[in-house]
Each structure stands twice: as structure tokens, then as C-alpha cells.
Amino acid sequence: MDARQLYEMLRKVQEPKGYYFNEDMDMTMPLLESLLTNKERLGYMACPCRLANGEFEADKDIVCPCTYREDDVKEYGACFCALYVSKEYNDGTIEKQVVPERRPPEKILF
């Protein structure tokens, strides 16, 4: 699978839930490629912008879409990576800001 195929596959599932891909393709495509890199490296699509432990059980919270996405998109209009965003984020009606890390550092084990 390549990033474009992953894009189409996930878009169909996520858009009806209210999560849109960042329309800035210079962000979205490298992030999707990184998800595929992590799938190859780790066996699962760990968040590309977080330090994965390398064991599925220890990384369950950051398997994309991560458990922090809902709160981040609600509060900032974007997830930590800015891969998934709200409609308002893409429309430019909310300010784009850097999303602070919500994952507790204790989750980093290795």
C-alpha cells in the first residue's frame, strides 16, 4: 500500500466521523508515509510524531488515530501531528496553533 491508497482508505472511514485530513498535503502525505514506515518497523501504525515503545500493548494509546485525537481536535482543531483536523481548521476559520503533547511521559517505557 502507498500513502495515496492509505489516504483514500482512511478518508472514507474518518470523514463521516468528523475527522478530516489536513488539506496541507505537504503535511499529510509525509505523515501518511511515516505511518507506513512505522507499520513496517513496528508492525502497527504508531503516531509518527511520538516516541513509540515498540510493543503494541505499550503503544496502544498512540496507534493512529490515537486516543488523544478527540480531545485535541476538540480543543485545537487538530491532532498532535496535525494529520487529522476539524472542518473549521481546513476552512481557516480557527487559528492554527502548535498542539501541546497530551500523552503522559510515563507512557514512554523504553
Partner: protein, 100 residues
């Protein structure tokens, strides 16, 4: 993300040495990639560690190092002399580069 624009030399590039700027990054992270690109555009030299590519004791040591600068252990963590910039914030990078 707006297009990256390097600041118009508000600082003395030559005054920065490789050891002055350290970037803790992940090889897969887009914010890390953009931050490094911006530092490149600024013309400064820096040392970059890809923490996700480390294993064992080396990884433990570096994670501890990141924690001391940024307790959230998030990336990029950019240390510019005694200033720490967490995440890709151009304005904060510019500010940190300007200081003596």
C-alpha cells in the same frame, strides 16, 4: 502550515557553533522535519539526534536528557544554548537565535 521564511539575518550566524544547538527529533515526525528545514534555512549548524532510531542504554540516556529539557518528552525539543523550544515555533526559534 505557512511557507517557511528564513529571518533576514537578525543574528550572527558565525557566532553559533555546532554544539550550541541540539535538536531532539523523530525520523518520522513532520514537525521535526519542518523545524530542521527552518534551521537549515536560517543557516545555522546543529546537532540532531533521532531518538526513535536509538536502542538500549543509549536511548534511555537520551530520553532522560530530553526529559530534563522538556518533561513532556515531546518532539522536536530544540535546545539553543540555554533556551528550549518545544515543538516547531518559528518565532521562538528566531528569538532564541537572536540572543547573545
Amino acid at each position: 502550515m505557512p511557507e517557511t521564511e528564513a529571518p533576514a539575518k537578525p543574528f550572527d550566524m558565525e557566532a553559533f557553533h555546532m554544539n550550541d544547538i541540539k535538536v531532539y527529533a523523530l525520523s518520522t515526525c513532520i514537525h521535526c522535519r519542518n523545524a530542521k528545514k527552518y534551521l537549515d534555512e536560517c543557516g545555522v549548524k546543529y546537532e540532531c539526534v533521532h531518538v526513535d532510531e536509538l536502542t538500549g542504554d543509549e536511548r534511555k540516556k537520551i530520553v532522560q536528557e530530553v526529559k530534563e529539557h522538556n518533561p513532556a518528552v515531546s518532539f522536536p525539543t530544540i535546545v539553543i544554548r540555554d533556551k528550549v523550544v518545544v515543538g516547531f515555533h518559528k518565532d521562538q526559534i528566531d528569538e532564541a537565535l537572536k540572543e547573545d
